[in-house]
């Protein structure tokens, strides 16, 4: 089994807020991330696909195809957007790095897994070079 990874970057704004909590509790749990005017990051999206190399092409998947899928399914929706206001997944869900990784997985999985061979294995999202989250499709 080969694991193939493609990276892409996007820039987006967000803030953390739970409507069910008081302003005080939001500030206590989320700290600076609870600033309602939002803030932004340069995110890095890492998508890992697992499979066997095709006998003819030697590819697990065509990287150009994977790049296009990532751009169409994720970057077109997330890049230069305010995640809380413009991405439907985060209308009621806090756009933490964990939830961004889960949302990206859900956007990517149907297309990637429809190829017949390779399967989506891991989505990792870096919020900064030092902070990241990943989702592996686990329940």
């Amino acid at each position: 089994m080969i694991f193939l990874t493609r990276r892409a970057t996007f820039a987006a704004a967000h803030y953390y807020w739970n409507d069910g909590w008081s302003e005080e509790k939001n500030r206590e749990i989320f700290g600076k991330c609870a600033n309602r005017n939002g803030h932004g990051h340069n995110y890095t999206l890492e998508v890992t696909v697992a499979g066997e190399p095709n006998a003819v092409t030697g590819f697990v998947v065509d990287l150009k195809w994977l790049k296009d899928v990532m751009e169409r399914e994720v970057l077109a929706a997330f890049d230069h957007r305010h995640l809380n206001h413009e991405v439907p997944e985060f209308a009621k869900t806090v756009p933490t790095t964990e939830n961004i990784a889960i949302a990206a997985w859900r956007r990517l999985e149907p297309t990637i897994n429809s190829t017949g061979g390779a399967k989506l294995s891991r989505v990792r999202v870096y919020e900064t070079p030092e902070i990241f989250a990943e989702y592996r499709g686990e329940a």
Binding site: Y16, N18, G20, W21, I29, F30, G31, T93, V94, P95, T96, T97, E98, N99, A101, I102, P129, E130, I131, F132, A133, E134, Y135, R136, E138, A139
Partner: protein
């Protein structure tokens, strides 16, 4: 829904790879430049990955401030700008990055809920790193 949260921490420390049970010649053969008597240093990167259910209230596997409280206090403050050989942990074992990685895993896992620590990676330089997973 299980997801993973990772964080990278930097620390600078010195060490010397030397084992008293071996002769000077054996130490030089085993450790080369790393055996130089006065030690040398690295900028280490410690990468910690924790796994668990995403809390629907917070959207988090673990609050970064809680993870920082553990790793900064128990690992970074202990080793940053220190000589690893002088830490009690390395009085009886050589401070290779393998051993540092294993000990950081033990320290951090002891402070977190059972089974939550997925791995500890210690990067000694940009070109070599070590990972420790739960046995």
């Amino acid at each position: 829904m299980k997801a993973y949260f990772g964080r990278r921490y930097m620390l600078s420390a010195s060490h010397r790879l030397h084992v008293d049970a071996m002769s000077d010649e054996e130490n030089r053969a085993a450790y080369g430049k790393c055996n130089n008597p006065h030690g040398h240093g690295h900028n280490y990167t410690i990468e910690v990955l924790v796994g668990g259910a995403v809390d629907p209230e917070t959207g988090m596997v673990m609050n970064l401030t809680d993870l920082d409280a553990v790793v900064q206090t128990k690992v970074v403050e202990r080793f940053d700008h220190m000589n690893l050989n002088h830490d009690p942990m390395f009085l009886n074992q050589v401070p290779t990055t393998e051993n540092l990685c294993k000990e950081v895993f033990r320290i951090v896992s002891g402070e977190l809920p059972a089974g939550m620590l997925e791995y500890v990676r210690v990067e000694e330089t940009e070109n070599n790193f070590f990972e420790c997973y739960a046995a």
